[in-house]
Symmetry: none
Subunit: 541 residues, 2 copies
Amino acid sequence: MRDNKIHLYDTTLRDGTQGEGISLSVEDKVKIAIRLDQFGMDFIEGGWPGSNPKDMAFFDRMKEMKLNHARIAAFGSTCRPNVAADEDANLRALIDSGVTVATIFGKSWDLHVTEALKTTLDENLRMVGDSVRFLKANGLTVIFDAEHFFDGYKNNAAYAVSVLKAAEEAGADWVVLCDTNGGSLPDEVFTIVSAVVPQLAVPLGIHAHNDGELAVANTLAAIRAGAMQVQGTVNGIGERCGNANLVSVIPNLQLKLGYSCVSEENLGQLTKLSRYVAEIANMSMPNNQPFVGNSAFAHKGGIHVSAVLKNPQTYEHMEPELIGNRRRVLVSELAGQSNLLAKADELNVSFDQEKAESREMIKLIKEREYQGYQYEGAEASLSLLMLEGTGKLNELFSLESFKIFMEKSPERSILSEAMVKLNINGQIMHTAAEGNGPVNALDHALRKALENHFPCLGEMHLTDYKVRVLDEGEATAAKVRVLIESARNGEKWSTVGVSTNIIEASWEALVDSVRYLLWKEGCEAQEPEIQGELKVGIANH
Amino acid sequence: MRDNKIHLYDTTLRDGTQGEGISLSVEDKVKIAIRLDQFGMDFIEGGWPGSNPKDMAFFDRMKEMKLNHARIAAFGSTCRPNVAADEDANLRALIDSGVTVATIFGKSWDLHVTEALKTTLDENLRMVGDSVRFLKANGLTVIFDAEHFFDGYKNNAAYAVSVLKAAEEAGADWVVLCDTNGGSLPDEVFTIVSAVVPQLAVPLGIHAHNDGELAVANTLAAIRAGAMQVQGTVNGIGERCGNANLVSVIPNLQLKLGYSCVSEENLGQLTKLSRYVAEIANMSMPNNQPFVGNSAFAHKGGIHVSAVLKNPQTYEHMEPELIGNRRRVLVSELAGQSNLLAKADELNVSFDQEKAESREMIKLIKEREYQGYQYEGAEASLSLLMLEGTGKLNELFSLESFKIFMEKSPERSILSEAMVKLNINGQIMHTAAEGNGPVNALDHALRKALENHFPCLGEMHLTDYKVRVLDEGEATAAKVRVLIESARNGEKWSTVGVSTNIIEASWEALVDSVRYLLWKEGCEAQEPEIQGELKVGIANH
C-alpha cells in the first residue's frame, strides 16, 4: 500500500497573490513563510524569480532564514519554443534564486500548445524534457506542473499523458495535475487521476481552482484516486475564485480520511494560521469560513443549543478544538435560558444562576434585540449588559455632554469637529478633536479625554465599523445599528449601539468598546499628574 | 430514464436567516420571495410559522401575492412524542399559514431519537407517519426532511431507511436527505444515496451544509446518485458555515451536467439575483465568489489576458454571460463601449456616439467605480453622470454651504440641526431644520430650501437609505457608500454617494435624488412670490 502521508505544497505567496486586491510586501511574505514552516507545510512556493524584483528580494531574504521543516520552492515556466534550456533566462533565474526546489509549469493541453505557444506538439515535449533535465543537472528537486491537465486530457488524453511522461523521463520528482480554469467536477477528476496513476511511476500532485466552488472536493477526489501532493493556499486566496483552500483540505484529509499531513499539535494551530494570514494580507475573513470561521461552530436555535450542550456530536461534525477553533452559543431572539447560562460561562461573566435573575436578563436581552440590538456580533456589549445586570460593573467614567460640528462649502472638503465632556471620578475632562467624519472625530475626542487616566487605551484601536439600517422603509429617519470591532495586542472584541441617530448609535458602541477593555483589564482611573510625579520619584531611586 | 428536471427548493428565508448576523424584516423577505419566484425557484421556504410572529406575518403578506411559478412552503417539525398529530400546535400552525406546501423535519438518526427526543425508535416512526398523514389529509403537498440522515445511516442504516419509508407510506410527496451537521464527504453521499434510491418510490431531495467546504460537491454527488430536488440558499447563507449555495449548484447542474433547473433566460439573471439578495440582507459579497463574484472572470496576469482575449476558453471554464456575469480585465480598459451605449439607451439619456466622448465616459465611470461608487444599484446617479458628460444637464441650484450641529447630554436625547445655504438662479435660500439624525436634518433643510421654487419636490419622498462601509479595516476612518432610494407617484429611483465622511456621502446621494427628479420632470425654477400671485389670479378666474 502507498504511503499515508500527503505532502503539502503551499502557494499562498505566489498563486495566492494573483487574487484581486491582494498585495504582499517582501516582509509580509517572509512573515507568512515563517508561519507556514512552523505549521508544517512541506513546500512553500515563494514567487516567480524571473518575473519581478519583489520575488527576487524574497528569495534573497529567505537565504538567511533557517526553517524547521519546509523547503522553499521557486516557480517558473519551461524554456520557450526553439530556445535551449541552458540559454533560457527564466530557468537561469530559478537556479540563481538559491532554492533547492524548482516548480515549472508546461502545457499539457494541445490547444494551448498550438494556439497560445504557436509551436508543435513535439517541440513542447522537447521543452518540458529539456527544462526538467537542465534543472535536475543543477541539483534541484523538480516539480512539474501540468497546466490545464484536465481540459487537455478531455481533449487529447494521449498527448496530455505524453507530456507527463516527458517530465518523468527527464527526472522530475513530482508531476502535478492542474485544473487551471477551475471548471472540472469531482468525478471527472477522480476518473482521470485514476486513469493516469498506473501509467506513471513518479508521484502525482493536484492543483485545483475554485471556479465551480469545488476546489476542495476536486482535491479530495484526486487524493482518493492516488495523488500524494496537494497544492493550495491558506484561505483559498488566488486568481478569480481562488485556489484550493488548504485550511479546509487539511482537516478533511487528516481528520476525516485518515491521511497524515501535519502533527496533531500543529493541526491545533490551523485557526490561528488562517487568521494570521488574513491579518497580514489585510483580508476580512468570512465569519462562515468552514472549520476556522468565527461562526463555524456557532449555535443559534434553541433546540440546537440545548442538544449540543448535552452531546456536541448532535450538531457538530467534529470537535472544534482539534483545529484550534471553539464552540460559540449565539444569543438571539430564539434563545432560551440554557443559551444564556452557557454564554455567561463562556464569556467568563460569573452570573448568578438564580432563576429569577436569569429570567430578568433574558427578558432584557429580548427587549433590546427587539429594539434592534444584535448581540451575536457584539459579545463585549453582551458581557457588559450581563455585568450590569448582576451589579458587578464599576463605571469608571460618565458622559457630561458631547457636541459635533460639521461644515461644508463647495471649495473645501467637509470639516468635522467633536467636543466631549466626561466625568472621571469627579474630575471633568473636556476635550475637542477633529476627524475625517463625525464618528472619527468623536472617537478621537473620547480617547483624548480618557487616555491620561487610562494609559492602556493607548494600545487599543478600532479595526472595523459596520452600519446596518433597520426598518429601511423609513429612509433617513430609520433606526441604525452600529457594530464596532476593536483590537489590542492581537485580541479583538465587538460592541453594538442602536439609535435613530447614527451618531448616538456610534457613540454607544464606542463607549462600550472602551468600557469592556477597562473591565477586562481591571483598570482603575489614575490621576495623570500624580502618575507623572510617581514616575519621576521611581526614576530617582 | 428519469426526468432531467431538478427541482429547486430555496430556503434562504428560513435556513438562510439562521446565519450569524443575518436578519431580514418581513418586507425584506417579501421582496426576496418575489425575486426568487421571478428567477424560477420551484419552492420558496418562507419560515417556521409556529416559531415567531415575524414568520407568521410573512405568510400573511404572501397570501395577497400572485406568484408566477414558485410555491411557498412553510417549515415545521413532526408532532412531539406522545402527542397526536391533529392536536399538535406546530402542525396546526403549518395549516393555518395558508401555504399549499408543508416541509416537516423528523429524526432519522437513532442517537437523536433516544438522546434528544428521549423517546423510542417506534414512537419516532409513529410521529413521522402520523404527521405526514395529517398534513396530507389537509390537502397539502408534504416534503419530509430527514434530519441527520447521513450520520444516521452510518450509525444504523436500517433504521434511517425505515424513517424514510414511514414518510413514504404516509403519502409524503418528497423525502429529503439532510446532512445537517455538514460533515459528510462527496463519495459517502454518493454511495449512501445510491443505496437508498432503489429502496423508495418517492422522489428524493438533498439538503447539504458547508462545514467541510463540500456542500456544492455533496449536492452534485446526490443528484448524480438519483436525487431530484436540491435544497439550498442564495449565496450559501445559513447556520455555521452555511447551506449549499444554489448560486453555484445551479450553473454546475445546468451548464456542466446537462440537467434542467431554470430557463436559459432566467439563468442569465443569476448574478443579479445573488447581488440583490446580498444587498437586501446587507451582506458584503466576496469578490471571489464562484460564478457571480466580481473577480470570478477577472484576469490579471499579462499571459492570461492576451490569451483570454484571443480565445476565452483558454482561461475561462465557461462563458460569464450565461449567468449574467462579465469578463473583466484588471490591467487595461478594453471592454465597455457597447455596454455604455446600451446603458445610455436604456436610461433614456441621449448620448453622443462619437468614439472619443464615449471613451472619456468609460474612463470616468471606471475611475468612479474604483473610488467606490457602484452604479448597478444607483442608475439615477449614472444617468446624471452621463448627462454631465454630454454637457446636457442644466444645474438648477448649487450649494453655498451646509452646517450640522449635534448635541448630546445624558438627560436629553440627541439634538440634530442642519443649516443649508443654496444658490437658486442667483437667489440665496438659507434654511434650517431639525431631524432625528444628521442626515435626516440635512434632508429636511434641503427640501425646505428648494420646495418653494420646485413644487414638484413636495410629492417626492425617500424610501430607502443604505450604508456600506468600504475598506472595513480602516474602521471609523473608512470610506462609506450611501445608497438612497426615492419615490414619487409610485416611481422609484436610486442614487449613490461616496466619501470618507458619511454625511458628505449622504449629501451627495440626497442632492442627486433631487437633481434627477428635476431633470426627469424638466422642471425650471419658479419664483415663489410670483407663483403665489399667479395662483390667486387663476383661482379668481
